[in-house]
Symmetry: C2
Subunit: 513 residues, 2 copies
Amino acid sequence: MSEVPSNEFQRRSGEINDLLCILNLLNWDARTQMPPGGGSVRSQQLATLSALAREKLLDPAYQVAAQTVSGDDIQIRAARQALDAISAMRRVPDRLTRELALLRSEAQDIWAAAKANNDFAAFAPALTRMVALNRQLAEALGYEGHPYDALQNLYEPGLTVATLLPLLTRLRTHHVPLLRAIQAQPQPRTDFLTRHYPADRQRAVSLAAAERFGYDMGRGRLDESAHPFEISLNCADVRITTRIQEAYLPGALFGTLHETGHALYEQGVSPALSRTVLTSDLTGLYAVGGASYGTHESQSRLWENRIGRSAAYWALHFRELQAAFPDQLSDVDAATFHRAVNRVQPSLIRVEADELTYDLHIMLRVDLEMRLMTGELEVQGLPAAWNARIREDLGLEVPDDAHGVLQDIHWSAGLFGSFPTYTIGNVMASQFYAAANRAVPELSAQLERGEYGPLREWLTDNIYQHGRTFAPHELLERTTGGGLDPQPYLEYLSGKYTELYGLRADVIKRVFL
Amino acid sequence: MSEVPSNEFQRRSGEINDLLCILNLLNWDARTQMPPGGGSVRSQQLATLSALAREKLLDPAYQVAAQTVSGDDIQIRAARQALDAISAMRRVPDRLTRELALLRSEAQDIWAAAKANNDFAAFAPALTRMVALNRQLAEALGYEGHPYDALQNLYEPGLTVATLLPLLTRLRTHHVPLLRAIQAQPQPRTDFLTRHYPADRQRAVSLAAAERFGYDMGRGRLDESAHPFEISLNCADVRITTRIQEAYLPGALFGTLHETGHALYEQGVSPALSRTVLTSDLTGLYAVGGASYGTHESQSRLWENRIGRSAAYWALHFRELQAAFPDQLSDVDAATFHRAVNRVQPSLIRVEADELTYDLHIMLRVDLEMRLMTGELEVQGLPAAWNARIREDLGLEVPDDAHGVLQDIHWSAGLFGSFPTYTIGNVMASQFYAAANRAVPELSAQLERGEYGPLREWLTDNIYQHGRTFAPHELLERTTGGGLDPQPYLEYLSGKYTELYGLRADVIKRVFL
């Protein structure tokens, strides 16, 4: 094999990376720019390109090229990741890949119609088939412990049910009593959040907030879409979207800060990693970026919640918001606004949930997904199981399936195993934030002055620049000296709500932690 | 070869078509949406995708599949076009393809800088190399008469120097004395065209005009770009751009009508041809669309000039324009506006030229290109040859090369042989328009009432729907019973300017036709 040129691996990796990034462009365009008529041919373009990327990845010459890589640690890591991806993709039969792709595309339309008509029965057959194919996928990929491990590893390398369940139990033991304590307190006013906020000014305010955190518009752009997202075509072209509702101010504002967190990660990846394996998941699940879904989510949560919903942030920036909306916010001050955007209130819809109840929504989904994967739960039993859990955890009655089991797109898109990464992201966000504060003692003072550069730089140095070079557990080890640990996250939530809701600090500490 | 499935040709053609359409999306995005930083990786993505499309086209299995096609005339034509494209691409060595792609990308940057600095000498080495590579390309492609034939056939199948030169001579013999006669007359006022026209209202007016002609926004969109263009991702996703200058009204307005003509062609292609060889030039010069560059240009010219600059159009629609710009157009009436936007005035810049002098700009370029290809003219002699011809034809002195030989991007982009298609388009536009009027006697009356549907439908039935099924000469034969004929075009121009400038009709007819 000595005749393989040493740059053959890089050349082929670059081509695969190009195709995955182009897939991202096709998806971005479909969601933000494409005229309504363009959909059907676009699906075929996506299918053609996906198949080509898979063909390039499974080309035996690519494997040979990866096997002959020598060099420094970075090069060896890239080759190892390529070989792992090749091995994983090889384990999945072509037939299953094709059936999954076809079903994903069909099931999303069926789901959308079923949700619009509040008709779970119409979605059930497609979902049953999706569950079956995902069980086949888990078997094909292989696992040691639980079939769910094979799926969640697609999004969070190394995460197992054996680690996840105790973590979720710990959060649950904390969150539920804290929620009850909060619910016993008077609630802050939020009436002013639903006044009329003109779209153009919301857009300007959102963009200014993104740039304040360091989002570089020379390498990015902000558009609108039905569901906000961040997508990267490479580290020099990182795009975000937001959704503006004129009758609800926090949606666009915090949605933009969330996507800005994702975007800072992507824009922070070292240009030296461009077009390499270390900016792309070669299995095609995400084309450019970070170590895992959870690591990525840790950054969106960190910038949105730890910074964007902090008292310090609004003490500094509320005045500018008020200047943009003088009539709407004339009877509000910074502290009142801060309390309003941190109000805890059980609700039916995950994407509208506050920081505390959000994890409970995730736990529900993870529990149901795991039982679907083992066969303990059948699709027809889903709505009842869902509604019972919402009643138990949140004390709410689900009025119809559109506000219950049909609310998320994930299952129709075949993304079984991805939900845990949202909560993993919350946990990691607090770990990274604590590590940053230990490493940069003046960080809080800087943030109180509105200096976001030092935090971003620490995160870039320690996380962003590395792209996918390090696995999530390696990033944690390098920055915190340990593994996944919910303690900083629980301390953050308890501390925050103790203050916001005037809870008795000593009671909270003793009971919940 | 009997084991080749009958749909193998269609499947492979569909994949190649997808890749070419995706290339169009990458280019559209780069020109309208991409943040400034995205350029360098985008170039690599384009290169990867172009190479893949070429690989798919030259895959021996594709040739076999094309050779085994049987069926109706349409299927046979598709297979024949594929085999022709394969044969042409095979004649061009990989080395030359790569060198041309590389030089195109480099030379455009060098040209842009040279134009900005008015420094032809800085561009001359790249242009010399581009001329050399295009001569090699002509030799590789092969030709019977003139090397220029090989190049212009890339854009206009079947066009030869033997046909082109007598045609251009005929136009020149007509245009030059007509221009002199016009210049001897008083000129209409145009002062109001350069007042301040706010961009947002120009955008609304342009979009309304495009939709008035039948541009379907459910399958299209209008954006802004430095140079206006139309681009298709398939017949259900046909996008146009315009360029708005607040101090010059006609730019965006007529630019939009021009691109609308291209877009009506693309939107009119039969959906049954989607993803087939009959909507794509497989050599990758244009991914979706019509029979040739000239045929396409005939439609942009027809809608922009024959309809959009007609007295009937402005008699009907000037009032709406005036309503959009009441202050700017308060002292203008429909007839005055119509005369202003048809003013003939020799100018240095092709893209700003009126209908009559435009062809003279094309003749200059064709003459110089042909001499470059035979070696009669060297690159260093270009500026002098250019300036002499502008003096002779237009009576103008070229003040610097930025307003002369450096004005067009075409040579830096390697598009030798494409200029004739602009004039071919003018000629064909009048032939098709005359044919439509013969076939639909009530057409003028309909147009005078603002009914554009019947003209569009005749064009769709006779030209648009067929995509690339028929060669340009076949379309002419089917609609006019003959070949390229400048007579209808010359009659149109003479008639129009005779009326607009009060020329003596009997003299014009006798002298110029």
